[in-house]
Amino acid sequence: MIPTSYYLALSVILFAIGVAGVLLRRNAIILFMAIELMLNSANLVFVAYSRQFGALDGQILVFFVMTVAAAEVAVGLALIVTIFRSKASIDVDDISMLKG
């Protein structure tokens, strides 16, 4: 069996790449994908600890995280489409005014 800490290390790397995506990229869609990557790395930790403790609760939490991620993507992409309609850009640096 692979030790849990190996999975934790991989998940840390994936999470850091997700943070880098949010901080370095300015395309709103890629920002969203980076957020999905971070959620995914958190899911990996949940499942790894679920195996370590022999309890299924972690896997249930992953199920809920997936549901919330799906809802978040639906609303977020709708927001991006709306912003693109009014600004003709999805660069997050361009979205600097409260009034559209």
Partner: protein, 183 residues
Amino acid sequence: MLPNIPELVIFLVLAVIAVAAALGMLASSNAIYSALFLVVNFGVVATFYLLLGAPFIAMAQVTVYAGAIMVLFLFVIMLLGAEKMKQTSHNLLWQKPLSIVLIVLLLSISFYVVLGQGVSVGSDLMQNASGYGSPSAIGTLLFQKYLFPFEATSILLLAAMVGAVVLTGVRRQRRRIRKSRRL
């Protein structure tokens, strides 16, 4: 107990693919390539779930993440024609070096915590227990212990659906109504 060699090789190869796909998502200038790299990453993570004894979560990962969510992403990218958005002027020039410093800090702190924990394999009993992570076991837990959160997610999904429809649909109809009134 150290992992046996074939398992370790499989893990390392998959881990390298996952990290490479994530880096590809981060670095590629075309948003479509980023989305496809992310699909690869999700597929590899689904394989990790299978290795961790979570077949139901693995299949949900493939259908929900790699399937539904990424199709939504690709659809929006193609709808907006936003494949190649050029990186426009940076208003905050100090932001990039600062973010790199912060990422390195985050990585080092997290690795300090993870490695300080020691190498633990966890309980072996689940490997022997039949039905661990199977759909029936998940379903039993979901509909008994976690029934209320499960029902709450249905409201969340409904709210998200209504929100998405309202955000994207209504404005255009309003414009049409205004136009028809002007006429």
